[in-house]
Point group: C2
Chain length 428, copies 2
């Protein structure tokens, strides 16, 4: 048994290494293509996906059957399901990415220095992007398309629940690439549910992967933090806070808090904790709590909040650290904007933090002082989305601190190089 | 013994953890300071350093004595030595950083989206930067100054040879911070030669370090690659190539190649491999080889190069992978620009790559196709330097692929956040 396991591992390692090498070669080829060629590739991918609708839905049926047997929740089953309409949606999303400005080759800046050298900072692809994700099948197409738009090769690892769907989608996308004369290996899917494949990707496959983009919950976060040997542009937890200041407009606060929590509870930009200014909580909180309860939201408050709204359940330390992704909201009274900022400094995951107030000075203090990818004034946290930001599609919301924060679109999947043009300058 | 070792380790761990926590707190405080306050801090650091000249030179004497006993080479001893002139140079470098534009808080972009939200991308500090370096004492001051200019706290780990000098410099810098009313813990130096401290920093100190900037040779590179659990903006090896094309101007080629290799052989931007177009090598190589030999450079060539210049030593596979940092140059004939690009693709460390040619089309093909932080046409690779690029000081040349490539100045030590200003928008 030990031998078998070891053979399995080394065979998986070999498969993964080979995928990495093919991705690297495809990335080198892609880096030499024109924006027009990449646009044609994206359109060909969209057509191929549309043509494969029957195959896609058949493959998805297998995933749905397995999911049903495994006892996935109705919400998970819904996220997993492909219908003709959803396939059309994925095809249309690819066409939208094809319409996006191609970021590669753009001159970000250009200047001349006293030595006479002409220096330009030019956008280049990152190279090979490893994407580890769960759940919805559309991520396979969206992620692959954004990688191609930015000149990168994509090495995809789908969740086991959607593997058959992801395989069918990848097969179609690769057919599109080939039809457009682009390297098929620019899009590869890891064809196994073996979790060791995730470890192999996190190791970087001997330098073949330039960056890992993880999209997932606590389990994946912990694994990435422990094992990643390559840079990570992480879309990790979103414990988003919304702070209602004493100077808030009550109706605006009700609308914003209910929308931030309840519009869709399963998205990363959904609010998970409501902070209320204690000096006005007597007025604000009962109204907010009533509106939230009527919208179907369960509340868990600290003692001070429960003193004002007694039918609220108790919140513990764990609640401040929990991304519910459900119709549950933790509630805490704080000592003004400073208290809100203190709470956020301790519990923020760096995703999106919002303040509701009519006092511009307080709003600006919050916007300047809170450290997160996105900070908002008088807007719902659910606007945390590349599309809403006008960036076209996104591969996720980065919650780390380097390279990019907030929505990660095509431009954020690039880096730059310096192009220096001289006339024979030597350095004295 | 085992117990002692384990106690030592846990005591080191506790010390490092505490340094990390204090750095995090200082970073949070720094993030709220104004550019003016940071400028005043930098000027106070410069004054404090100037005032401490006697202490600095006394501390440096201890390092020099240890170095002499250890048998450091004359070149290493020279790099290590502090003189009154060199201290003045470090003080002046701090004043220059104080004059640099402060990058924090700048709006990089601002736009309005159809929902009416006003979105700004605003520069913010990275947070806590861990810098691991070797050799020259001035790096302590330069790195600390660039971190403060960009609103970051610096956790410094100097090489053991320069520890006393680095401690004296850090003491003075912290005095300057205190005098300017800034948190002293914004600059901390690891006060031990225990190599386990490097491992602790690479672990990220339980989330206290946001990014590691390593500056060093192969040993440090390997350790960082194996152990780093936090993002790295690496200043690692610089195996820089200079390719002389058949369409090169011979005199320009001689000047550029000799300067690229021999101006200073110990810098990361020094050329390590000369690639010559085989179709013109008969004309070019003997002249280049003669000029290099006269400048004191030893050549190691492939067979084809040695056929043209028989007194050249042989180059092996190892030579293509070696950063000599010495008066040695490997030489290879290649099949035109495509052959040069192939060689560079295999052996480049992503630092600086140059082409010498009068054919603009060939030059542009090289500039577009070569993947490195810096690509150059008709310029010496020794221009790879933040100062020469007009960026003021630099903390190193990044050879990785994410966040920043090429010279890393104050701006590259920042990231951004999105500031979203609404008027009560909820997402439909």
């Amino acid at each position: 048994m030990a031998d078998t396991a070891s053979n399995d591992t080394s065979s998986l390692d070999a498969v993964m290494r080979s995928m990495g090498q093919r991705a690297r070669a495809a990335a080198a080829e892609l880096a030499q293509t024109t924006p027009k060629a990449r646009t044609e590739g994206l359109l060909a991918m969209a057509s191929a996906l549309g043509d494969a609708q029957t195959d896609l839905i058949a493959a998805n049926q297998k995933d749905l059957e397995t999911g049903r047997a495994k006892g996935l929740t109705p919400a998970m089953m819904d996220r997993l399901a492909l219908t003709p309409d959803r396939v059309s949606g994925i095809v249309e999303a690819l066409r939208e990415v094809a319409r996006l400005a191609d970021p590669v080759g753009a001159e970000i800046a250009r200047w001349t220095v006293p030595s006479g050298l002409d220096i330009a900072r030019v956008r280049t692809p990152l190279g090979v992007i490893g994407i580890i994700y769960e759940a919805r099948p559309n991520v396979t197409a969206d992620a692959a398309a954004l990688c191609l738009r930015s000149g990168n090769a994509a090495l995809l690892r789908a969740g086991s629940e959607s593997l058959n769907s992801a395989l069918a989608i990848t097969t179609a996308l690769r057919r599109g690439l080939a039809e457009a004369g682009l390297p098929e290996d620019a899009i590869q899917l890891v064809d196994t549910t073996d979790r060791a494949a995730v470890g192999a990707m996190l190791s970087g496959l001997e330098g073949s992967i330039d960056v890992i983009v993880p999209r997932g919950g606590k389990g994946l976060v912990a694994r990435v933090q422990a094992e990643a040997r390559v840079p990570v542009i992480g879309h990790l937890e979103g414990i988003c806070h919304i702070y209602v200041d004493a100077a808030a407009d009550l109706q605006k606060a009700v609308d914003l808090v209910v929308n931030a929590k309840m519009r869709r509870t399963g998205v990363c930009g959904a609010a998970e904790t409501l902070l209320v200014d204690q000096t006005a909580a007597g007025t604000l909180l009962p109204v907010l709590a009533k509106a939230l309860s009527e919208a179907g939201c369960q509340l868990r408050g600290d003692e001070a909040a429960r003193a004002l709204v007694p039918d609220m359940g108790p919140a513990t330390e764990t609640d401040w650290r929990t991304e519910y992704l459900d119709a549950i909201l933790s509630v805490r009274l704080v000592d003004g904007v400073a208290g809100a900022m203190d709470h956020i400094r301790t519990y923020s995951t760096g995703h999106t933090e919002a303040i509701v107030t009519e006092d511009i000075a307080i709003a600006e203090r919050f916007l300047a002082g809170v450290d997160a990818g996105i900070v908002m004034h008088n807007a719902s946290t659910q606007f945390a989305d590349g599309g809403e930001f006008g960036m076209g599609a996104e591969i996720g919301i980065a919650t780390g601190r380097i390279h990019a924060r907030g929505p990660v679109g095509a431009e954020q999947l690039t880096i730059f190089k310096y192009v220096v043009r001289g006339t024979g300058q030597t350095r004295p």
